[in-house]
């Protein structure tokens, strides 16, 4: 129910939303998506994946062998990457917003410089709204709380909505049911 609401809101602001039960399924989906989009080793074609709980326990050596997939996040690489992949911890259903503690610069580099941002989100991180989020996530635990609602947009020329200015022009959200986040489910108002 909350997921459906989130999906409706997020798609309303041009985000693409998917959901998988297992990390394996989600990973398969991401790899297929990258390959369909022509991921490759050269500049403006590769994907940059910021370290995240999703990657824990994954066979990174195997992943590194996939052409066009990189894990060393630098500003130079981020500015040349076509895809940025990161984990976002929370999702707000009432506005279709993703939220994350992005104090680590890598989190922001991969989600703001590439033209496509793929966000992996633990399904347990879905929250109803902003007041709920703010009651759970405090600035004392995060120097840079980042919220993302759809891709980058502008209407500064003749009020015509145009997607993709300084940030990504596509936001692909992948919910993973068995992904454990930083989020402690016992604190969730939903459970």
């Amino acid at each position: 129910m909350l997921y459906e609401q989130f999906k409706m809101r997020a798609e309303g602001v041009s985000a693409e939303v998917y959901r998988f039960v297992t990390k394996t399924e989600a990973l398969d989906f991401v790899i297929r998506l990258l390959q369909n989009e022509g991921v490759a080793d050269e500049a403006n074609a590769f994907a940059l994946w910021a370290d995240s709980p999703f990657l824990e326990g994954m066979d990174r050596q195997a992943l590194k062998k996939i052409a066009g997939l990189k894990f060393e996040v630098t500003r130079e690489l981020a500015s040349e990457a076509k895809f940025g992949i990161s984990q976002m911890e929370w999702a707000l259903t009432d506005t279709g917003t993703l939220v994350d503690d992005s104090s680590a610069i890598e989190q922001r580099l991969v989600s703001s410089l590439p033209s496509i941002h793929i966000a992996l989100v633990p399904t347990s991180g879905i929250l109803p709204d902003m007041p709920t989020l703010l009651s759970m996530v405090h600035p004392k635990d995060s120097s840079y709380l980042a919220m993302i609602t759809g891709p980058s947009r502008t209407a500064d020329i003749e009020r015509v909505l145009t997607i993709g200015v300084h940030g990504p022009e596509r936001l692909i959200i992948v919910f993973v049911d068995d992904l454990e986040g930083k989020f402690n489910p016992s604190k969730s108002p939903l459970i």
Partner: protein, 711 residues
């Protein structure tokens, strides 16, 4: 008004691109905003915002200190100053100390306020705006015309010319392509910049956090890529509690751009690591620039409840005609007029405050619950206090304050006006109604004013009594409306008295800042109207009703003449507008209208004071429908007709197009009659229809209802 100001108005009105873009936007905004607020109790929400911002405005020092403490504990450097010059110097010093050569900026009105860019550029530093709209106007060498959409006045062709020059390539006006060009051009500048400057949408005292909202994603880059970040924040952005961020986030994007949330929101608390592992050099400047003085002013303190959404611009019938540049170089529109008077100087607002027609549309949508029209009146009052009234106005008010002389002159005008009378209209009225705009005929002064005709009306002796306050227009131009009102009330068993000593309600003086004159009028009217014990004081002019009901009290309070306040309150308690009273009488079964006959289509125009101050809009509609009319709503039924009392005389170039738009909306309904409850609107719209030649009858509700009284 200065000639160059008038010229800037004419230039704007004749700029079809500007008026076209703004017109389309204002229509779309209204629909989209309503959609964005679906399911939200706006009154409750803005009540909370007003409370929390008002609390902050009363505790600016305390919250500034708390913010400073908390932000510094997290490693930020906080600088607070009242002086724009010191703020500029501070930023330049940080830049010089760090050998900064290039700066990227995300949108900040506070930096516009202190004209930061030219100052830094003069010192040899390259400053690049990165918000698309701001970049466009930077390339064009212009200033923002709108707080949220700085380049709304420009066409895609103009933008493509600017960008073509910048990239040395002939570009088409394809908007997505232009946006790509901006992305590609600005990307290297973000990566190279030594310093990022941002504003701040919210500053949270409890946590020392700065909240930034953007759609393009430029603020994320400005705050992430350069090693130094300076956030320039006006202290009115301070709020006490972190939890209240959610309250502002709920209203700001909805009111600003009709979005549920902007694409990006960043809550920054203390420095974060740079890409090379070092820590960001984070400076937060809390800028006062007279905001504390404003907070100490009992009238203007509420202006600090502004969250800078610019919805007051988006709904303003004047702004959509003239755009932002007529208002000045930084803050524009309704709130801009107020901020300019304070952050710049009172004198600078002398012309622009006159742009406000006092229709109240902005007051209804302000998420900070600021009474913007009231504050603009207050500016007017202070300007008059400082500089005195213009000579001509002074002469007029000397007359208006002497009832016998005033009424004598109006009677004389009915004779003098005769040679110019064509049918029911004259082109020019003498005295203060002289020099009127084309596009509207004016009514002849009645040969016999209502006060004389009243004596000839034979009323039954009835137990319940109401005093009728006619107001100048019904008394001297439309006495038949007064006669109709007497017949209707008699039918409901109410006898009407007409206190002879009543005079002008003082609204014209008050709206021109001449509060002393308005107070004189108020005293005369209180004495006249409270002389007999009546149940109601009824008026068929909403502007007069508002004067009797609210403004007498406020005028006395503003002038400190509190001895008159109890009497003014007594009068207010009895005052009622025509449609509200008649609806009540019908509901109580004391008055019945002939029903059953189909009278055909009608459309209804909401008068500003009736709809937005007295909150009356359903009553006249229900009465007209009960009488047998089929109501067809016009587009923008509650947008001002452009009359605004003497506004239509002072700024005919603005009043004219507003009237034309109203006439068009009326005609498009196909209804042969348009009804309204205000004789001022009747004068404006009937005159307009007369010139237009359209076969649409313009009637006051009182005239239509009297025809349907049960025999």
């Amino acid at each position: 008004m200065r000639n160059e100001f008038k010229e800037s108005i004419n230039k704007a009105i004749n700029n079809a691109n500007l008026t076209g873009a703004l017109g389309k936007f204002s229509e779309a905004y209204k629909v989209n905003r309503a959609k964005a607020y679906e399911g939200i109790d706006f009154e409750e929400l803005r009540g909370r915002i007003a409370d929390l911002k008002s609390y902050a405005a009363s505790h600016l020092d305390q919250l500034s200190e708390q913010f400073t403490r908390n932000a510094e504990a997290r490693g930020a450097k906080v600088f607070r100053s009242n002086d724009p010059a010191k703020v500029r110097e501070y930023i330049l010093k940080v830049a010089k100390d760090n050998e900064v050569k290039t700066i990227v900026k995300s949108k900040s009105m506070a930096t516009e306020e202190i004209h930061l860019n030219p100052y830094l550029e003069k010192a040899g530093i390259s400053v690049g705006e990165t918000d698309l709209g701001e970049w466009i106007i930077q390339l064009a060498g212009q200033t923002p015309s709108h707080m949220v959409m700085p380049a709304i006045h420009m066409t895609k062709e103009e933008v493509s010319d600017l960008f073509s020059k910048e990239v040395n390539e002939r570009l088409t006006s394809d908007i997505p392509r232009l946006v790509k060009v901006a992305r590609n051009e600005l990307r290297p500048r973000f990566l190279e910049a030594d310093m990022g400057i941002s504003g701040g949408n919210i500053a949270v005292a409890e946590t020392g956090s700065v909240v930034l909202m953007t759609n393009e994603g430029n603020a994320r880059l400005v705050t992430s890529l350069p090693k130094i970040h300076i956030a320039l924040v006006g202290i009115e952005k301070l709020i006490e509690k972190y939890a209240d961020v959610a309250t502002i986030l709920k209203a700001l994007p909805r009111s600003a751009t009709a979005q549920l949330l902007t694409s990006y929101v960043s809550i920054i608390t203390g420095p974060t690591p740079n890409t090379d592992g070092s820590m960001k050099d984070l400076h937060i400047i809390l800028m006062d620039n007279r905001r504390s003085e404003m907070a100490a002013d009992p009238k203007f303190k509420q202006a600090l409840q502004c969250i800078r959404c610019a919805s007051c611009l988006n709904v303003c019938p004047i702004f959509r005609l003239v755009g932002g540049h007529v208002f000045g170089k930084v803050y524009t529109g309704g709130i801009g007029t107020i901020l300019t008077a304070w952050f710049d100087e009172l004198k600078k607002s002398e012309d622009i405050q006159g742009l406000c027609i006092q229709c109240g549309a902005c007051r209804d949508v302000c998420p900070g619950k600021i009474d913007i029209p009231e504050l603009i009146l207050e500016i007017r009052r202070r300007i008059v206090q400082e500089q005195g009234l213009p000579l001509i106005q002074k002469a007029i008010y000397t007359v208006v304050n002497n009832r016998k002389l005033f009424h004598g002159m109006l009677r004389a005008a009915s004779v003098a006006g005769k040679p110019f009378t064509s049918g029911k209209f004259v082109r020019h009225l003498p005295m203060f109604l002289a020099d009127l705009t084309d596009g509207r005929s004016l009514p002849a002064i009645a040969a016999e004013p209502f006060r004389d005709r009243f004596k000839k009306i034979r009323q039954p002796k009835l137990k319940e009594k109401a005093a009728f306050y006619a107001g100048c227009l019904i008394d001297f131009a439309y006495p038949e409306m007064g006669e109709a009102l007497v017949r209707i009330l008699n039918k409901a068993g109410i006898e009407v008295i007409f206190p002879e000593e009543q005079t002008c309600c003082g609204a014209p003086a008050r709206y021109n800042g001449a509060y002393e004159v308005a107070a004189g009028n108020a005293i005369d009217n209180i004495k006249a109207l409270l002389i007999e014990d009546v149940t109601y004081v009824i008026s068929a002019c909403p502007t007069c009703t508002v004067a009797l009901d609210h403004e007498f009290i406020d005028t006395f309070e503003s002038l400190g003449q509190t001895e008159w306040v109890p009497k003014a309150k007594e009068l207010s308690g009895k005052t009622v507008d025509f449609s509200t009273l008649v609806k009540k009488l019908v509901d109580e079964g004391r008055l019945s209208l002939k029903e059953g006959k189909k009278l055909g289509k009608i459309t209804y125009h909401d008068s500003c004071h009736l709809k937005r101050t007295l909150k009356v809009s359903a009553e006249p509609r229900e009465l007209l429908q009960k009488a047998g009319y089929e109501l067809i709503e016009m587009f923008e039924c509650d947008i001002c007709c452009g009359m605004g009392g003497s506004y239509s005389i002072k700024l005919p170039e603005i009043s004219g197009p507003i009237l034309q738009r109203k006439l068009r909306n009326i005609k498009e309904t196909g209804a042969p009659i348009v009804a309204m409850d205000c004789p001022g609107c009747v004068m404006q719209i009937r005159g307009g229809m007369d010139q237009d030649g359209a076969d649409v009858k313009v009637r006051h509700t009182v005239e239509l209802l009297v025809e349907r009284l049960q025999e």
